[in-house]
Amino acid sequence: MRRVKAFLLGVWEFVVGDDWRTALGVVLALALTALLAGASVSAWWVMPLAVLGLLALSVRHAARGR
């Protein structure tokens, strides 16, 4: 059990890294893109906005923590 927990923690650390907000933001942005595209609405603009917003927020959060 301890090994499984350690493995899952390792996977989480590897994939999500030290900023879970960015990972969550990427998932939400992809979901919004899929939602808009499914409704036949132009959705290409979601990801660029998400990347710029998430990058700025992530950098701001890290800079304030220093």
């Binding site: 890294g17 030290d18 893109t33 899929a34 959705a43 660029p48 992530s58 890290a62 800079a63 220093r66």
Partner: protein, 262 residues
């Protein structure tokens, strides 16, 4: 070779070169202090493990439906890319200390000496440290090789690009017989972050059902756009730092901020 394939080859090459430089520092420090044969066993075991990961997961990934693959790969590349980019931006703005290979070499050498001597011919410490160093530094690159390569069905191209990067770094390390401290690691990490984020958002959006204006040509706007935005953030951070709102990571960073381009 298409633009996307050039992007694939360049991104994998840069990512792999950066991680190889860091792994080389650990290998050199432990090898010079302990046992070269045990270190080489560790390097070989880690390389085999990485090759097995790529060989095992590659076919599984390419078997996924293309839209699912693009969403998964796009999402992962964006998460990785934004992390690389955030750290590179903080380093460029002087808010995070740059990776110092000479300092890492000194620390690893001291730790290797302090670990005591091994028993018999095989040095377990040297094996474990070199194995762990190469595996951990290589894992992210293996993932980039897999995701980038699988999405374009060009895993062999991605693997070849990674292999060339490793061979070049090892050759440079053998020639210098020292850590490669003059490699512009942060600039390379900045470039990798831009490429991963750009291709990640492109594929992620396509996989989620969106259509880019201009199709593949949209990448010609996306990559420079992300680069521009990242540089704008560095510029804004430097201005904030120079006003004293945020303290730089080290006193030497002021000089680096003035001399290091992004």
């Amino acid at each position: 070779m298409s633009g996307a394939e050039v992007g694939l080859a360049v991104s994998v090459f840069l990512a792999c070169a950066v991680e190889a430089v860091e792994a080389l520092t650990i290998v050199l420090a432990v090898g010079a202090t302990r046992s070269w044969s045990s270190v080489m066993c560790g390097v070989a075991a880690a390389t085999l493990a990485l090759a097995a990961i790529v060989a095992g997961l590659g076919p599984a990934l390419t078997a996924l439906p293309i839209d699912v693959l693009r969403v998964v790969v796009g999402g992962l590349l964006m998460i990785f890319g934004l992390q690389w980019l955030r750290k590179a931006i903080l380093r460029s703005a002087g808010l995070k200390a740059k990776h110092d290979e000479l300092e890492t070499f000194r620390e690893e050498t001291e730790a290797a000496r302090a670990a005591g001597t091994g028993h018999g011919g095989f040095d377990g410490y040297a094996f474990a440290i070199s194995f762990k160093g190469v595996l951990l530094e290589g894992l992210e690159v293996a993932f980039i090789v897999l995701t980038f390569g699988a999405n374009q069905h060009r895993i062999p191209l991605a693997s070849a690009s990674a292999a060339v990067a490793v061979l070049l770094v090892v050759a440079a390390g053998l020639a210098a017989r020292a850590p490669l401290a003059r490699v512009p690691e942060n600039t390379m990490k900045f470039a990798v972050g831009v490429m991963l984020s750009s291709f990640g958002m492109f594929w992620g959006a396509e996989g989620a059902g969106a259509s880019w204006p201009g199709g593949d040509a949209a990448l010609l706007a996306i990559v420079p756009g992300v680069l521009l935005a990242a540089n704008a953030i560095v510029w804004a951070l430097r201005r904030t730092t120079s006003r004293g709102a945020l303290a730089p990571a080290t006193s030497g960073e002021a000089l680096e901020r003035a001399t290091i381009g992004v």
